[in-house]
């Protein structure tokens, strides 16, 4: 069980190459950080890993097979802005249960209040919404998690709480995680190795 990106290159239209020759191998239970200045293609790379975009060059393989196009995707992406990743016309319980029914343990770890489930998305704060996004992405078939600046816009306490929960669950299920962040402290704390995107552009 391995997520492997080989010689990935991407550009929009006929523009300049955003990055070329990116390699990444992710083992189960491994936590890898990605860092680099704004606009260097970190998010695009994450989207490629999660199957949202197809790379212009190179291949992404899961279990040495191409990423599945249909069905539950084993690589789940968590976005930076939870407000956009949530349908504003759905109540929270429908959003939470879209992929799977998170058990009590997960909800408690992430600090999701039972009361919130009956609310609309605009009645919750960004941090509360992000907990829902994380819970939604942690389905039993999720093998790898891509956290694209998952906690960048949250306060320190919420950040710790969410990361605590994610790391604990990931350890239990041997889930691999890619962490994108600008915070070097968080990176040092979490990641076993770090990829600098400056090298590829």
């Amino acid at each position: 069980m391995q997520l492997e990106a080989k010689d990935i290159g991407f550009r929009y239209g006929n523009g300049p190459w955003l990055f070329q020759g990116v390699n990444l191998t992710l083992e189960p239970g491994e936590i890898v950080g990605i860092t680099g200045p704004s606009g260097c293609g970190k998010t695009t790379f994450c989207r490629i890993l999660a199957g949202f975009e197809t790379p212009i060059e190179g291949t992404v393989t899961f279990n040495s097979a191409p990423l599945p196009k249909k069905g539950y995707h084993p690589v789940q992406l968590i976005f930076q802005h939870p407000e956009k990743a949530i349908n504003p016309r759905w109540k929270m319980h429908k959003i939470l249960n879209e992929g799977w029914k998170p058990n009590k343990e997960v909800l408690e770890l992430l600090g999701i209040d039972r009361e919130w489930l009956e609310r609309w998305p605009n009645e919750l704060s960004g941090g509360e919404l992000q907990r829902f996004c994380v819970a939604r992405a942690l389905g039993p078939n999720t093998r790898f998690l891509i956290a694209d600046e998952m906690t960048t816009m949250l306060d320190a306490i919420t950040q710790t709480q969410i990361w605590h929960a994610v790391i604990e669950i990931a350890k239990k299920r041997k889930m691999g995680i890619v962490v994108v962040t600008h915070e070097s402290k968080l990176m040092q704390r979490l990641c076993q190795r770090v990829i600098d995107f400056n090298d590829f552009s």
Partner: protein
């Protein structure tokens, strides 16, 4: 600073005794009740009142005959009411047909790939480039006129602008992050269309439908007026108006005045309902 803000809020409150939402709902309710009364009136009214009665010809409006009588002694109030309910019926079928076509084509254009999109956009442009009325007359005429011809004609001509709006809306939702996430959760295209996209375009569809209504009724009346629509036996507003044209010069103003006014009021009522629903549920304008 804060106290002055509070004061300002209070002042606002005094200016608007009942809030916007309540007023809008009230207007919608009144309009719907009015329309229901008109439709029920047209269906339930005694048909005996429009039989020819040569003793009572050309009577001006009075308490007995609210809208007067015509050259055959038929009560114009009854004819108008029946004509209006017929027009509303035709409008309803036409508008439902048009809205369904718009929904289907709009969804198809936005979800079925580039070729489908190009084809449907071309079709929309084609229909929009010719005035509604011309296509409508053409279709109604080809189908032999009458009730069937005009209803099919109406349904086939009024969809393009709504289809364009729906296409744009669907495209916008389709690229939203939560739809992409949904795809990666293994949801099928159908599931996404039903749960994510349809609820999003439902308000637009409803408003579009309500605003199509007056259009459809007016065009039905216009085509019937020109003699290409409903058959002359039926008491449609268009027929009443075109017949009364001959008698206008002899001073029988009530023949055209009251039916025309009623048509205008009905159309305005539908327009009001549509606009007010828009104010209530359009996410971009719900807060003003």
């Amino acid at each position: 600073m804060i106290s002055s803000l509070k004061l300002k809020n209070k002042d606002n409150h005094k200016q608007l005794p009942s809030n916007r939402k309540k007023r809008t709902l009230f207007i919608i309710l009144i309009s719907i009740i009015f329309l229901v009364i008109v439709i029920l009136g047209g269906v339930l009214i005694d048909e005996g009142r429009i039989v020819t009665n040569l003793n009572d010809r050309n009577a001006p409006p009075s308490l007995d005959h609210l809208f007067g009588t015509d050259w055959l002694g038929r009560d114009m109030f009854t004819r108008t009411l029946m004509g209006l309910s017929l027009s509303i019926g035709v409008g309803l079928i036409g508008a439902i047909g048009s809205a369904s076509i718009a929904l289907f084509l709009g969804m198809a254009a936005a979800t079925m790939g580039k070729m489908a999109d190009r084809l449907i956009s071309w079709l929309i442009d084609l229909f929009l480039s010719v005035p509604h009325l011309v296509t409508l007359i053409l279709i109604a005429f080809t189908l032999g006129g009458g009730f069937k011809g005009i209803v099919i004609g109406l349904a086939l001509t009024h969809w393009p602008s709504l289809a364009r709006v729906i296409r744009a809306e669907v495209m916008q939702v389709r690229s939203a992050e939560y739809v992409q996430v949904s795809q990666k959760m293994g949801k099928s295209q159908w599931w996404i269309a039903l749960h994510h996209i349809l609820p999003h375009i439902a308000p637009q569809l409803l408003i579009g439908f309500m605003l199509l209504f007056p259009h459809v009724i007016l065009h039905e009346a216009a085509v019937t007026f020109l003699g290409l629509g409903l058959s002359p036996h039926e008491p449609a507003i268009g027929i009443i108006l075109s017949e009364s044209m001959k008698y206008l010069s002899s001073g029988m103003w009530w023949l055209a005045f009251f039916p025309g006014l009623c048509l205008l009021i009905i159309v305005r009522t539908f327009d009001q309902i549509g606009e007010n629903i828009r104010l209530l549920i359009d996410p971009n304008r719900a807060q003003d």
